[in-house]
């Protein structure tokens, strides 16, 4: 249909327009008793199929929303089922931590590990206890299995813990029977023996058999005596025939720890060996 002069409003067009406007005005001025039946009649006739379509669409939409909700619930249930063994493990760890707390009596601060999703998380992490809870720098951080690390920095509500895996970590250690003393340090962060500890400075003439439990010695007054550090798994090296270095399997892996206890006033606490032996968690 061509556009042109014939599209200008003719008299008939104007009359139709005026008529429609007048009818609209009449509709606006209809009283309720006439207006409502008219509207209802339109809804029941002209609009009925469209309203029915709209209703079906609403139902379809609601069904889709319910389907999404059901799928979300199913996914949540699957997720919970996936984490169930982990939850059980955490529950066991918390129970053992409570047992350790009972045996320690007083002089400890429980704390949660606040992890960051970074690769270096096992080297240092933040715990949810600080000055307000009585945490002091250089306090030993333990779990029911043994030594986790040492407090490096203390804030008001949190503390920074340097774990045994940190390259600068050192602790004075001894064999469980007290026959051998040395310094425990991380073995390194590369190669197949990563995440192992090593016991350095052991006299060449002193042999330490595999499976020997290594504890903190308490020498130096920083760590209390008797906290499990690890178990000897082999010889790492010898130095000029006057000392040996032994590899240790750590008692605790820092990445697996979720809750810890920070020992306070530990140097005067004495030997903690019995506390950890009672827990039955020592390696």
């Amino acid at each position: 249909m061509a556009l042109g002069a014939d599209r200008y409003a003719s008299r008939a067009d104007t009359l139709v327009f005026v008529g429609c406007v007048l009818l609209s005005g009449a509709a606006m001025s209809l009283p309720g008793r006439l207006r409502d039946p008219l509207a209802r009649a339109l809804r029941d006739t002209v609009l009925a199929p469209f309203l029915s379509l709209q209703q079906q669409i609403e139902r379809l939409s609601a069904s889709l929303a319910r389907y999404d909700a059901v799928v979300a619930q199913r996914d949540s249930a699957s997720l919970v089922a996936t984490f169930l063994p982990e939850l059980r493990g955490e529950n066991a760890r918390l129970r053992s931590l409570l047992g350790l707390g009972t045996r320690l009596g007083t002089g400890y601060v429980p704390a949660e590990v606040l992890r960051e999703p970074e690769p270096t998380s096992p080297l240092t992490f933040i715990v949810s206890a600080g000055k307000k809870q009585g945490v002091k720098p250089l306090s030993a951080v333990v779990s029911p299995e043994g030594l986790v690390g040492i407090v490096s920095t203390v804030d008001q509500q949190t503390s920074l813990v340097v774990t045994w895996a940190h390259p600068e970590f050192r602790a004075s250690a001894m064999a469980a029977d007290g026959s051998v003393y040395g310094i425990v340090a991380p073995h390194g962060s590369e190669g197949p023996r990563v995440w192992l500890l090593e016991l350095e400075g052991v006299a060449y003439r002193q042999l330490v058999p595999n499976g020997t439990l290594i504890l903190t010695s308490g020498l130096g007054g920083v760590m209390p005596r008797g906290i499990p550090v690890g178990v000897v798994v082999g010889v790492a090296g010898e130095a000029e025939g006057w000392e040996r270095t032994y590899l240790l399997r750590p008692a605790v892996h820092p990445a697996a720890v979720t809750h810890v206890m920070i020992l306070s006033g530990t140097p005067s606490r004495g030997d903690l060996r019995s506390v950890f032996e009672s827990s039955g968690e020592a390696p």
Binding site: M1, T14, S24, A27, R35, D36, L38, A39, L53
Partner: protein, 165 residues
């Protein structure tokens, strides 16, 4: 206009009416989603004379008023005015191209909302300001975009001439 074009034209209008009652709920809230019914009316006015356009506007408005009886008649009046003016002004002022048609859809939607708001007398003060300055422009924009898409996709098939004025 060929007979096949005429059928296509009314099929497209029918599809728009169906979209109004089906797909609209997925295209945003009631106040921002495109008004396919008004779009169908405005597309009709592109080809129709002002008189039939006014009649169609009255019918569409009255049908819509049945869904909102509180402002019964206001929609009929608003759609009549918009349809008549759109048809008349297109013949007098506007060239036939996509952008101009988009502007017509935008202006038509906004003017319809203005006329309904004023004629019904239900919106006053801040509510009227929000409606006319915030919600109506958004709805006008979405309607214009939908209209441009429709014309771009099927404009030539329904003998709506674009860019040849």
């Amino acid at each position: 206009m060929r007979r096949s074009d005429k059928y296509r034209f009314y099929v497209i209008l029918g599809v728009l009416v169906v979209l109004q009652f089906s797909a609209r709920r997925w295209l945003g809230g009631d106040r921002v989603a495109p008004d396919f019914l008004l779009l169908a009316l405005l597309i009709y006015t592109i080809r129709a004379r002002p008189g039939p356009s006014a009649g169609a506007g009255f019918v569409v408005g009255l049908v819509r008023d049945a869904l909102t009886p509180a402002s019964f008649g206001a929609g009929a009046l608003a759609h009549t005015l918009v349809a008549y003016l759109a048809s008349w002004s297109k013949a007098v002022f506007f060239a036939e191209n996509l952008f101009v048609n988009g502007c017509l859809f935008f202006a038509g939607t906004w003017c319809r909302n203005l006329a309904v708001a004023v004629a019904s007398g239900k919106l006053k003060g801040g509510m009227l300001g929000w409606e006319l300055l915030v919600w109506s422009p958004i709805q006008s924009l979405t309607t214009a975009v939908a209209g441009v898409l429709v014309l771009w996709l099927v404009g030539r098939r329904i003998a709506v001439r674009l860019s040849d004025a």
